[in-house]
């Protein structure tokens, strides 16, 4: 079975993926001049930053693809 750290990283990444995915749907549906657009963009930015942070805190050991 997978070690706890990896399991937590996986669960965390999942939740961030959901936030990012729905933010993306909202941005696609909003007109370019919608006043709420900057707010949703902040959500997307924060989730993206959290994903990057996650990769630093729990490095993805199983990741074997070349950059």
């Amino acid at each position: 079975m997978m070690p706890d750290d990896e399991k937590h990283r996986h669960d965390f990444k999942n939740q961030l993926g959901i936030i990012l995915g729905f933010a993306d749907i909202l941005l696609t549906d909003m007109s370019p001049d919608d006043g709420r657009r900057p707010d949703v963009e902040e959500i997307e930015k924060a989730a993206t930053a959290a994903l990057a942070l996650l990769a630093r805190v729990f490095p993805d050991n199983g990741h074997q693809e070349k950059p």
Partner: protein
């Protein structure tokens, strides 16, 4: 556009995928685990399965394996969605029969493009099945056109399959014999009623027309890869070992074995069925007739004996 089954134990993920796919014009069903997914795939035949790998109890690998094991759902494409981007899990996925992979968090455009491409492929394989179904219905239409031959195709398929089994043929050959039973006379669709339904022996001109059914049938099956092994049966089931058969006058081993088998069971079924101009022969008389044809050099004696052994065993 198609019906996509989304499988994920995390509701947010399933909802995210549903929103994206629905917006792209697909119908979406969801399942919360592997066992439920397999059940839905077997009963409702979705066009595509988009499945998370890490789920409690039955995981994505196991569910994928079960879907790919069933003949009825083997061609349903399965995409495994995983946040494990490593080579090991991809290999496990390929071993389980997965058609494609998506890594989480996924790119929306990549997701939709892959789904569209796999659905195109699925519709294409569905069409292949449908094309074969059309040809089989055509064959049954011919049977309906000629009420004298009712049940002939079904009986032939059954006879040919049991003969093939008795001879120890492989599964592919047995399947070809079953289809061949239904399709051997499909070319009769191109024979005019005046000849096909004539309540009496044919003149030599009429017989020349009738012989065309082997060539017409061969052409009809020609385009279908799935009927590759059936074609020789359709074309050659009226050939005779001594070269007096049609359409090509082939001799001996040049006549494909499956066609020889179909030829034998076809003669037997014709002899034991009534026609407007002749009564049905009792099985024992038909067996004698078939043995006489073999002695005349039309069929292989060993094949005729094996077949008659089966039919005579059947009677007791």
């Amino acid at each position: 556009m198609g019906v996509v089954l989304v499988v994920d134990d995390i509701e947010g993920n399933a909802r995210l995928l549903s929103s994206l796919l629905t917006a792209d014009g697909h119908s979406v069903r969801t399942a919360a685990g592997g066992a439920e997914a397999v059940r839905i795939v077997l009963s409702d035949h979705p066009d595509l399965v988009l499945m998370d790998v890490m789920m409690p109890e039955v995981d994505g690998f196991e569910a994928c394996r079960q879907i790919k094991q069933e003949a009825a759902t083997r061609l349903t494409p399965v995409v495994l969605v995983t946040s494990l981007n490593d080579t090991d899990s991809r290999i496990r996925g390929i071993d389980a029969g997965a058609d494609d992979f998506l890594s989480k968090p996924f790119n929306r455009h990549e997701l939709l493009a892959r789904v569209r491409s796999l659905l195109r492929l699925k519709h294409y394989t569905d069409d292949l099945d449908t094309a074969e179904a059309v040809i089989v219905s055509l064959a049954l239409t011919i049977e309906a056109r000629d009420s004298n031959t009712e049940g002939h195709c079904q009986r032939l398929a059954a006879y040919a399959v049991s003969l093939g089994r008795a001879l120890g043929l492989n599964q592919d050959d047995i399947a070809a014999l079953e289809r061949g039973g239904y399709l051997h006379d499909v070319g009769k669709v191109g024979i005019p009623d005046a000849v096909l339904l004539k309540p009496g022996p044919l003149t030599s001109d009429e017989f020349r027309v009738m012989k065309q059914h082997t060539l017409i049938g061969d052409r009809l099956c020609g385009e279908l890869r799935s009927l590759r092994k059936v074609r020789p049966i359709v074309r050659c089931h009226h050939e005779r070992l001594d070269g007096t058969g049609y359409p090509d006058g082939l001799r001996g081993d040049a006549i494909p074995l499956l066609a020889q088998l179909m030829g034998i069971v076809d003669v037997f079924d014709a002899l034991t069925s009534a026609r407007p101009y002749k009564a049905a022969l009792p099985r024992a008389r038909a067996a004698e007739e078939l043995r006489a044809e073999a002695a005349r050099g039309w069929h292989r004696t060993d094949l005729v004996s094996t077949f008659l052994g089966l039919v005579e065993g059947d009677r007791q």
